[in-house]
């Protein structure tokens, strides 16, 4: 059974689009809940996939409880809990402001700010910052033992992984200060004034003024925001955090997986698990060298049956060797999962699917 280590508190599922990342994140969370943990699955992908996989009508920024079977296996009582939420950039951002502002008037001034309005609702980076805040909150929320984060497809997931470091760097007091006080004539700020002048040329007067206004309005937030960004950055490298790479095992998928793995590793994040989806079709016979003899009454379709079998066997063989090579290269074992028979639309279907996982061990 695919599971995380007992001390894992935060797991990021990463990978390119279309590999079944969200479905896997849901299954992983479910599996951990069934073995007794209290789990939040947080999807940063605005598509409805997580709600569909868990068989619930809608997910919002606020966590929903996912009903679990009351018993599993030989009547063992299920003690865990499963919660799920979908990150909404605007809702998350508003919540962050409201909490940090402490009073409604101050929060309202931020909500009224043009920059805030323009950027809180859209754009990859805003989305990444909101995700970072949500992850921070969830990890510190006593209701959850484990947070599973389903990241959006590759490029934006890198955005999410880089968000804390970029924000810490920008919120660095010196940088923000020259921005706000560039009119000040003190020598150490003069460089800032020149830079800001150049910025006015490349970005325009109105944008720079709006930005300055925004940063002033946000002053009360900066410290806490930067503090939390630092914490998330550390959290991502903590031993209790795991990165799970979800990939497909065909040749194109493996190449994509290689670049995602390289992105993860280059940031010093620990790649803990590899999962290859759609690696096999459970209905197909295990490959064998013995030719199958079909009875006479099937002779009309026998050539087709043989062709299907040969094609599928070759395809699975190719995938197996791709996976083996990938595992050896990364020094990690993997799990391969079958192609799901139908869209997985509820916890029991998810559980049945993930139970078919086959372990792949290292050849060396």
């Amino acid at each position: 059974m695919i599971q995380l280590s007992d001390d894992c508190r935060l797991a990021f599922c990463v990978g390119v689009g279309g590999v079944g990342k969200t479905t896997f994140a849901a299954s992983l969370g479910l599996g951990e809940a069934l073995r007794g943990r209290s789990v939040l699955v947080l999807t940063a992908d605005p598509a409805r996939r997580l709600a569909d996989a868990l068989g619930i009508r809608d997910l919002s920024d606020r966590a929903s409880d996912i009903p679990l079977p009351t018993t599993i296996g030989a009547g063992e009582r299920v003690r865990g809990e499963l919660h799920a939420a979908m990150l909404e950039t605007k809702a998350s951002a508003d919540e962050i402001i409201r909490r940090a502002a402490h009073d409604e008037a101050r929060a309202q001034r931020v909500f009224d700010n043009r920059i805030y309005q323009a950027f809180s609702n859209t754009l990859a980076r805003s989305h990444a910052y909101a995700a970072m805040e949500r992850v921070h909150d969830a990890v510190h929320d006593a209701r959850y033992d484990l947070v599973v984060v389903d990241t959006p497809p590759a490029q934006s997931s890198i955005e999410i992984l880089d968000a804390p470091a970029r924000l810490v760097s920008f919120l660095d007091q010196r940088v923000v200060r020259w921005f706000l006080q560039a009119s000040d004539e003190s020598p150490q700020l003069r460089g800032g004034a020149i830079a800001q002048g150049l910025l006015r040329i490349v970005a325009g007067e109105s944008l720079v003024s709006a930005l300055t206004e925004f940063l002033t309005e946000m002053a009360f937030l900066r410290e806490g925001f930067s503090e939390r960004a630092k914490e998330v950055r550390e959290l991502m490298r903590s031993p209790s955090t795991s990165f799970v790479l979800v990939a497909s095992a065909d040749s194109v998928g493996i190449e994509a997986a290689k670049s995602v793995a390289a992105e993860v590793r280059s940031r010093d994040f620990a790649l803990a698990q590899l999962v290859f989806n759609r690696a096999f079709i459970p209905e197909a016979a295990p490959p064998s060298d013995d030719p199958v003899t079909y009875p006479e009454r099937l002779s009309a379709i026998a050539p087709k049956l043989a062709r299907m079998r040969a094609l599928l066997t070759a395809e699975e063989e190719q995938k197996r060797s791709n996976i083996a090579a990938f595992c050896d290269e990364h020094g990690l074992g993997a799990w391969s999962l079958p192609e799901a028979r139908r869209p997985l639309g509820d916890p029991s279907a998810l559980a049945a699917w993930i139970e078919q996982a086959r372990p792949v061990s290292l050849s060396t």
């Binding site: 590759a154 490029q155 970029r166 020259w178 921005f179 209905e283 049956l305």
Partner: protein
């Protein structure tokens, strides 16, 4: 007046969007190959860190300056840093000063942190390439559906506080390009699988609301093969439920049944797509593994449809 293959595919700038993993880059690359063979100068534009063209053509990663990745096919990757310098240069006119601005440590941190900077420099770069008459068609590979919507929304997001100034020009140029039905088309790529279809229908509905965007083609990729006809399917079901159950050949029948169901699901998905999306459509049958075969298969299919 309509050529066999629709006019949208002959426009100068073509955006491709669709759910991740549907083979968007492959369709785009196949179209680039077909364009090159038709004597055009296709340029593949990739965003972000992953370059699919290098994987598909087995070459080195595309760099910022267009390079030839296959006979007659060029590719470029919009890397943040050089695109930023290009944008700043367009404002300050002097590249050395632009480099200094981009490398100023405080401004750098701002550019790396501020939302929208990526999208702005990308739009600027695409407009810059589009203004260069060497290239056509320009095929832009937008990553995922959410990303694409954000990208096309950017002008209206910036609209709010850009009354004038240099960014206004970038936004205007990009808006004009997107709105120009003679020059620009947005294609949607999907596969006939339930999740992808739901997302595609949703994406299409979102795009339809935007009257300034011009949708081109719907590409349905990886349509599973129809292995069995109806009689054969009935035979397989009948055998599996009776005489063949538990026999050594039963797994082969089960596989056949499975593949038949997969095709059935795909047919249902395609009916759903035709029902909800009224775009001209091209379908591509599933190809055997191996990116070279896939590419060759798709570009041949495009040429068969009368692409010129």
């Amino acid at each position: 007046m309509h050529a066999p293959i629709g006019e949208p595919l002959t426009r100068q700038v073509q955006f491709f969007t669709g759910k991740g993993g549907v083979g968007k880059s492959t369709v785009l690359a196949a179209l680039a190959m077909a364009s090159a063979r038709a004597g055009k100068q296709p340029l593949i534009v990739e965003l972000g860190t992953h370059t699919s063209s290098s994987r598909l053509f087995h070459g080195p990663d595309a760099g910022y300056q267009p390079s030839e990745v296959a006979p007659g096919v060029h590719a470029t990757r919009v890397q943040f840093e050089p695109a930023l310098i290009d944008y700043i240069t367009s404002r300050l006119k002097l590249r050395p000063i632009a480099s200094l601005v981009a490398k100023n440590s405080s401004l750098r941190r701002l550019f790396l942190a501020a939302p929208g900077v990526d999208e702005i420099v990308t739009l600027h770069r695409v407009a810059q390439l589009a203004a260069d008459e060497r290239w056509g068609p320009i095929l832009v590979d937008l990553e995922s559906t959410g990303h694409a919507l954000m990208f096309f929304d950017l002008p209206s997001v910036l609209e709010v506080f850009l009354k004038d100034g240099p960014l206004r020009q970038v936004v205007d140029t990009a808006t004009d390009l997107l709105a120009d039905v003679q020059r620009c088309a947005i294609h949607i790529v999907t596969v006939p699988e339930p999740l992808a279809v739901n997302e595609t229908i949703h994406l299409h509905a979102q795009m339809r609301k935007r009257e300034d965007l011009h949708l081109g083609y719907l590409f349905i990729n990886r349509v599973p093969r129809a292995w069995l006809d109806d009689d054969e399917k009935r035979l397989v079901d009948h055998e599996l439920a009776g005489a063949s159950a538990g026999k050594p050949w039963a797994p082969d029948l089960a596989l056949a049944q499975y593949l038949a169901k997969r095709r059935q699901t795909a047919d249902k998905c395609m009916r759903g797509l035709h029902h909800d999306i009224d775009l001209p459509t091209m379908t591509f049958e599933e190809q055997d593994a191996g990116s070279a075969t896939i590419l060759a298969g798709l570009s041949a299919a495009i040429e068969r449809s009368g692409f010129r």
